[in-house]
């Protein structure tokens, strides 16, 4: 009897403890599963916001979170634009930086290695973004829509979202194509988890991006018909134009005629130049701006970051330069400034004749790369509006200025360069386009040209597009990035500049991914 009781007791214990096992299925309070996130069209829109916001912001936790979307890098410098800008501009004559952050000084002296944190940062950001886009593309497949009972206009909207996610993915692959050449390659058909992506060759990646952009063009909203901040047909064509202009670098095959065709498609979509060049880079450039085709959107309250235009504005000025007049009263980080080559592209860099020249105090010579006042400050980006007010900001540092990823002026310049490089187009039309830019810059026709050389286009790009993330690609296309045929202060680590090895036209794949992914072969030279 006693033993029986004992056995009953023990059995009861085992039974009730087994009942508690379901307590091991704990789920988070605020995070949700994919099926919940995509349960409504509004949910799709919020994931779409991440597909775009993955460019502009560092992560879901805002600027004060300890980590963002990508790890292994200071959160505040982990957004797309800050990293892309550093890799495209600090390595050129357009900018050098003062700070001591790890790896940062290696860019201007062209001394970077595969363990550089910023290089890893951009590569990780782009691959993260691609992986997130793949997920969205999977979740917006037709079968998923019908299983979630989303039909009609709502389903059509999501089909547009899906095309836009494919555009964003193509854009990130273009970034990898341009800077890294041969990245890993994943699409919506690859799994998440224990999986090792394969590597794609640069020429094959070019073909993939080209085919994607062509495939989504009909699926995207017509030019200028989409919401602000979202990609349309013109964005796809603008990226195609950029892709074809550099095709010879990417694949060895020139595609200049296609570049002209794509650029012309954008030009004839109804965009016009913003009458005032300076207004393109102000705090209210999201309104009354007929020129920008697609922008990264920032907001001093709702989309805060220490990267993006907050970085471009604050790091370009010092506290002594009266930050309030730049719309960042509590900012001024004394970071980067131009080498003399940039102001000297202008015959008069005071800004009195060519108004695109926007420089401030500093000595034009750069004796010491780590002294902020050695070199001219660039005051192109500001967080004030065209009427002189300062947009709302959480701390007087975060900017609301949007960053143009594509704008009409670039298409004019693509057209002009492609014509000069042998593409089928009209040189007279090219001169007209260039003069449109120069007339705006001078405020009158005094700067207009009647003929131009291929080299003139590079210089015009320098004057028109400086600090907008083009310079490294441009110098490579013109064969001036490496080697010693074109020098700037501190190129290669010498004050007067010196040549560097040709392998530096590509960045190394980060050593972290080479180790994690045995399918990858490092770029030559690293």
């Amino acid at each position: 009897m006693k033993k029986l009781n004992y056995i009953i007791g023990l059995s009861a214990l085992i039974i009730l403890s087994a009942g508690c096992k379901k307590d091991l299925n704990r789920t988070p309070t605020n995070a949700i599963t994919a099926d919940v996130a995509y349960n409504t069209p509004a949910g799709y829109k919020q994931v779409l916001a991440k597909m775009y916001g993955g460019f502009a912001l560092t992560g879901n936790g805002g600027p004060d979170a300890s980590v963002g979307d990508v790890a292994g890098i200071d959160q505040g410098s982990s957004d797309f634009l800050r990293l892309f800008w550093n890799l495209q501009e600090l390595t050129t004559d357009e900018a050098a930086i003062v700070w001591n952050d790890p790896g940062l000084q290696d860019f201007h002296v062209m001394n970077w290695t595969s363990t550089n944190i910023m290089i890893r940062g951009l590569y990780s950001r782009s691959m993260y973004h691609i992986t997130a886009c793949n997920e969205f593309i999977r979740e917006s497949a037709e079968a998923k829509l019908s299983s979630r009972n989303i039909t009609g206009t709502e389903a059509d909207n999501i089909r547009h979202y899906q095309a836009e996610a494919r555009f964003l993915r193509a854009y990130e692959y273009w970034v990898l194509l341009d800077l890294f050449g041969n990245p890993p390659f994943v699409t919506e058909n690859d799994p998440i988890g224990k999986f090792i992506p394969s590597q794609i060759k640069r020429a094959d990646l070019f073909t993939y991006i080209e085919s994607e952009l062509k495939a989504i063009e009909p699926l995207l909203v017509d030019a200028k018909q989409n919401e602000y901040g979202r990609a349309d047909k013109a964005a796809a064509n603008a990226l195609l134009a950029r892709l074809y202009l550099n095709a010879e670098v990417y694949t060895g095959q020139a595609r200049y005629t296609e570049a002209i065709t794509a650029a012309q498609k954008v030009i004839s979509s109804g965009y016009t130049l913003n009458p005032k060049y300076a207004n393109l880079f102000l705090g209210d450039n999201n309104v009354n701006n007929p020129e920008t085709i697609l922008a990264l959107n920032y907001d001093g309250v709702n989309s805060q970051t220490y990267g993006g235009t907050t970085y471009l504005i604050n790091a370009a000025i010092s506290a002594a330069l009266d930050p309030k007049t730049f719309g960042v009263p509590n900012g001024g980080w004394s970071g980067m400034r131009a080498t003399k080559n940039l102001p000297l592209l202008f015959a008069d860099y005071s800004g009195a004749t060519d108004k695109r020249a926007m420089f401030a105090a500093g000595s034009i010579e750069m004796n010491d790369i780590t002294v902020y006042t050695d070199g001219l400050a660039v005051t192109k980006f500001k967080n004030i509006t065209s009427t002189g007010t300062i947009p709302a900001s959480a701390n007087g540092v975060y900017a609301s200025t949007d960053f143009p990823l594509f704008r009409l002026a670039e298409m004019y310049l693509v057209y002009a360069e492609a014509v000069k490089r042998g593409g089928t187009g009209a040189e007279g039309q090219a001169i007209t386009y260039l003069n449109l830019l120069r007339t705006r810059a001078y405020g009158n026709a005094s700067g207009n040209i009647t003929s131009y050389t291929l080299n003139d286009v590079l210089d015009e790009r320098g004057r028109e597009l400086y600090w907008e993330g083009f310079r490294r690609s441009d110098l490579i296309r013109y064969g001036r990035f490496t080697g010693d045929n074109y020098l700037w202060p501190w190129k290669g680590g010498a004050k007067a500049g010196k040549g560097v090895e040709a392998f530096r036209v590509l960045y190394p794949l980060p050593s972290t991914d080479i180790i994690a992914n045995p399918n990858l072969v490092q770029n030559a030279g690293y």
Binding site: T29, K50, G59, D64, I192, G193, P197
Partner: protein, 990 residues
């Protein structure tokens, strides 16, 4: 969970009410007394196959005995066993008087789910009881045993009142998950989660309520705690009720705290000279006219008091203890303050003829803190000494570096340090934390089978932490957001339910003893974090700070089954084995359950015939053990689940005219599971001269596999570039040695001393899925200076936290050449391929020495500790040991370390090995003198008085050039100095 409690309780009631008691003829009864003639409750009296336990009056009755001679034995832990033959005839009286055991071998040691006598311990276990605790002003419990136990290092996080410590048992077993040991108070395992508003969750336990610390180190001791045991287990036993009339104890302490040493920075005159000689006209014009020693201004000599009143005794046969404590400590950093009120109640009744023992422990604490703005420490060393503290201005009249805008507005220079006094005075950071924890433990010895115990332990640990932070709108420190007026709140509710059966049986026929335990545990950890927007000083919501959710409720649950068997043969050979299986809510169902076994063999060599008669060797024991433990702390709660997270209000994205909260897919690892540590241990315990000298030696080897490690993953395979997953191995090996002795023992003079030594060496043996010799490792050890600079690395083949820096080149005179490093790979380029690994922040050797001299009523004691082989990166020097910091190009002047005259560096060279210094040290932790006045109102009075005086942090001997090398991270960046403390205390018994 409530249902579980109910069911377990019912079950227990069910079991013992179903039993009946047999009656037989012939009995023995009597009383058991201790050496002073007081009754001994809880002693075991056995005769033949009958046994019982004495009641609270020390009385017992053994019935059902056959008439005639029978051997009676009386046992009580810590006492010599009394054996006597008694002739039973009817109701026979037999009183016994026990003598304390001199060797301490019969002392009972708490182990996981039970107790054993010290002589029968199979694991590497160290115990420190209250008489050996560190004395003086001890605010937080772990500091009681600093330097007292081999194999454990306790490094306080600084001198702030109530600040916590980094506790490492045998160096820790993890890299990026937790290295904190499991702490169990009165059988209730605590969570290591921090409590909002408390700098250290342990500071809510009053050290005065603690009786014993038991540190479990090898797997034989810890494996019964399974998945939470890899970093060692610390069992804390609080003081319990006592027998007899209630006795009161009152103790009070008054402490004074003072900063010992300040950093060497330029004096105002040296500073002026430097600026006048080297500065530009504009910089000379910035010089002020004052002479301000900023470090003097931010530190104060502060006072603290600690008062405790307790009463312990027996009321209506129920032993109890009630205590209350009030502590108030003002920090040496101006505005730092801690106030703590604690209370505890313990009752320990025994029912049903002592068959049911109940222990109820309830503890409550209320702390109120004001946290000083520790940014002032760095600011004070780098602020211009020629500027005044106060000046008429718009920043609350504190001098600040500022720029005037074109529109006339004055804005603080964003790159300059802020006025240290303003940082302290203008920030008010207050918190209030309430914590209550407790448990009720029922131990029932079956009436029909007294050897079988059923033990039910129900525990809880709840806390509420909340606080506010206020900075006025005009303060320069939060100028950009116009001040702060923030609040925060968090609730924690942790529950524990455990039930085990324990069966102990002497099998006389085969000269054996078995001790078998099997049990079940349920542990639930629930936190509720409230989210609030940020407010500025005018209580206007800071734009973009509105929380996306009102709260979060992270919860994790652990369910366990465990068992242990100890088999003792002939009192000489002990075989022990345990196994625990844990299921954790942190892992996917297929990886949820882990099994953690252990096995141990112990040989009590002194029981062999050749040593039995030895006069010299009173104890000699060999212990061998092996076991596997786990580690899951530090793993995110839900990382195996694919989820989407919503962005905060500051991270919305504009599409069209609307800002959308972003839903982002989160990286996840479906196959995440425990870290597993296999530990091999060989140990020897010895006692000489009848236990006057005793000690132990242990050697161990620990191998952790499936290390939770945040590693780079193949890009494109998940929603991040790194993931925390199980990859990597680490090895720890070490030697521990402890010896304690009563060197002199006479009626008026005694001298006790204890020494312990620890060596721990670790090595990372694997870090990646794919072996790759070119992988440098995981950068770690972030410093202040630059953004994202690190100075340490975890690499395969090296110590954890090895330094990873450039090798400085020196000139012929031994002066470092600025920015010149050795080209270690010889490629004529200095880049990160030339970084090299050397030394580590982790000490290789830890030594502790305690001694106490007593002469009549006086006693003098001291504790010394030493760490050897630990290196420190002097981040303060790296930051302010450069002239650039003095003539700062960002438009202000800043003070610098006198280091500038040694290195002469102009710019920060953060990655130079020049700044890594040997941090080995010897510290006198404590020097104390006490006077036991005894019964001050005559020998018959009950009032006893003791007086004591202590000095803590007496001195430190080190080559390190900074303030204090004892920094667990190895990075000295404006460390909150540990004050020197002077304590006077009075202790009254009545």
């Amino acid at each position: 969970m409530k249902k579980l409690y109910l069911k377990l309780t019912l079950l227990l009631v069910f079991i013992f009410t179903a039993l009946c008691v047999h009656a037989q003829t012939g009995s023995i009864s009597g009383q058991v007394l201790d050496e002073t003639g007081l009754p001994l409750p809880g002693a075991t009296v056995s005769a033949g196959d009958k046994a019982t336990i004495t009641n609270t009056d020390g009385k017992y009755t053994l019935t059902g005995l056959p008439a005639g001679s029978i051997s009676v034995s009386v046992r009580f832990v810590g006492y010599q066993v009394l054996q006597q033959v008694v002739t039973v005839s009817g109701d026979t009286k037999f009183n016994a008087s026990l003598k304390p055991s001199s060797t301490g071998l019969n002392e009972v040691v708490v182990i996981g789910y039970g107790t054993v006598q010290k002589k029968n311990l199979t694991g590497a276990v160290s115990t420190v009881t209250s008489k050996d605790f560190q004395k003086g002003s001890i605010t937080t419990p772990e500091q009681l045993i600093a330097g007292k136990v081999p194999g454990i290092s306790i490094t306080s996080n600084g001198g702030s009142p109530g600040s916590g410590s980094v506790i490492r048992v045998r160096g820790g077993a993890s890299l990026s998950a937790s290295n904190d040991p499991l702490i169990v108070i009165d059988g209730v395992p605590l969570s290591n989660n921090s409590i909002s508003g408390a700098s250290n969750p342990l500071s809510l336990i009053n050290p005065n309520d603690i009786e014993t610390f038991t540190v479990l180190k090898d797997a034989s001791a810890t494996a019964i705690y399974g998945s939470r045991a890899s970093n060692g287990v610390i069992l804390i036993t609080t003081k319990k009720g006592t027998s007899g009339a209630p006795k009161f104890n009152f103790s009070t302490q008054l402490s004074a705290y003072k900063v010992g040493k300040k950093l060497d920075v330029l004096s105002p005159s040296a500073f002026r000279d430097y600026v006048n000689t080297n500065g530009s006209a504009a910089q000379i014009a910035m010089l002020g006219t004052e002479n301000t020693d900023w470090q003097d201004k931010i530190y104060q000599t502060s006072l603290g008091t600690d008062n405790n009143l307790s009463v312990a005794g027996t009321y209506k046969a129920i032993p109890f203890r009630i205590s209350g404590g009030y502590l108030r400590q003002v920090g040496v950093l101006v505005t730092d303050k801690l106030q703590r009120t604690t209370g505890s109640i313990t009752i320990n009744p025994k029912l049903f003829d002592n068959h049911l023992k109940i222990d109820v422990n309830l503890k409550g604490a209320l702390t109120e803190s004001r946290f000083a703005n520790q940014g002032a420490i760095g600011s004070a060393v780098s602020f211009d000494p020629t500027q005044p503290v106060y000046v008429k201005n718009s920043f609350g009249n504190y001098y600040e570096w500022a720029n005037t805008s074109s529109d006339g507005s004055v804005i603080p220079n964003p790159n300059a340090p802020r006025n240290p006094i303003a940082l302290l005075a203008q920030r008010s950071d207050n918190s209030q934390v309430k914590r209550s924890c407790g448990n009720a433990q029922f131990d029932y010895s079956m009436h029909f089978l007294p050897e079988l115990h059923a033990n039910l332990n129900l525990g809880y640990d709840i806390s509420n932490g909340k606080g506010t932070t206020y900075v006025p709108a005009n303060a320069a420190q939060s100028f950009a957001v116009q001040g702060l007026d923030n609040n925060y709140q968090q609730n924690i509710s942790n529950k524990v339910g455990e039930f085990y059966l324990n069966y102990i049986k002497d099998l006389k026929g085969i000269n054996s003893n078995i001790n078998v335990t099997a049990g079940y545990g349920y542990y639930d950890f629930l936190t509720k974090i409230f989210y609030y927007p940020s407010y500025n000083a005018n209580h206007v919501v800071v734009a973009g700070s509105e929380p996306a959710f009102a709260f979060d409720k992270p919860q994790t649950t652990l369910i366990s089954y465990y068992g242990r068997a100890i088999y003792t043969f002939n009192n000489k050979y002990i075989l022990a084995g345990s196994v625990r299986t844990d299921g954790s809510s942190r892992f996917a169902p297929e990886n949820r359950w882990g099994v953690f076994p252990s096995a141990a063999f112990t040989w009590r060599i002194n029981q062999e015939n050749f040593l039995k008669e030895s006069k010299t060797i009173s104890d000699l024991k060999l212990r061998l053990s092996y076991g596997v433990t786990g580690q899951q702390d530090g793993i995110p709660y839900y990382s195996y689940l694919p989820t989407y997270a919503l962005s905060v209000a500051a991270a919305k994205y504009q599409l069209g005219d609307t800002f959308y909260g972003m839903y982002a897919p989160q990286a996840y690892d479906k196959s995440i599971k425990w870290e597993q540590t296999a530990t091999y241990n060989a140990g020897m315990d010895f006692g000489l001269f009848d236990g006057r000298v005793n000690g132990s030696v242990d050697v161990y080897f620990k191998k952790t596999k499936d290390l939770l490690n945040n590693i780079p993953i193949p890009l494109g395979s998940n929603f991040s570039n790194t993931i925390t997953t199980n990859v990597g191995n680490i090895e720890n090996k070490g030697v521990e040695f402890a010896i304690n002795g009563a060197l002199v023992k006479s009626s008026s003079f005694s001298w006790d001393a204890g020494f312990n030594f620890t060596y721990n060496g670790n090595k990372i043996t694997r870090l990646t899925n794919v072996e790759n010799p070119t992988y440098p490792g995981v950068l770690t050890g972030g410093i202040s200076g630059g953004t994202g600079n690190t100075v340490q690395i975890n690499s395969v083949g090296y110590n954890t936290y090895s330094y990873y820096l450039y090798k400085q080149v020196y000139d012929a005179a031994g002066k470092p050449k600025e920015g010149i490093y050795e080209d270690l790979n010889g490629d004529n380029i200095i880049n990160e391929k030339d970084l090299y690994r050397f030394q580590s922040a982790v000490p290789k050797y830890i030594l502790g020495f305690s001694t106490q001299l007593s002469y009549k009523k006086w006693s003098l004691s001291t504790v010394l500790r030493a760490n050897l082989g630990n290196y420190v990166y002097n981040n303060v020097k790296a930051n302010i040991g450069v002239t650039r910091n003095l003539l700062n190009p960002a438009g202000f002047l800043g003070n610098v370390s006198t280091e500038i005259f040694k290195s002469g560096f102009d710019n920060n060279q953060y990655l130079s090995d020049y700044y890594v210094e040997n941090g080995s040290f010897l510290r006198m932790d404590n020097l104390g003198l006490s006077y036991n006045a005894g019964k001050i109102f005559g020998p018959t009075s009950k009032v006893g008085l003791r007086l004591n005086a202590n000095c803590q942090n007496v001195f430190i001997v080190t080559k390190y050039s900074g303030l204090d090398p004892e920094i667990s991270s190895g990075i000295d960046n404006n460390f909150y100095p540990r004050p020197r403390t002077f304590v006077l205390g009075v202790n009254l018994d009545f």
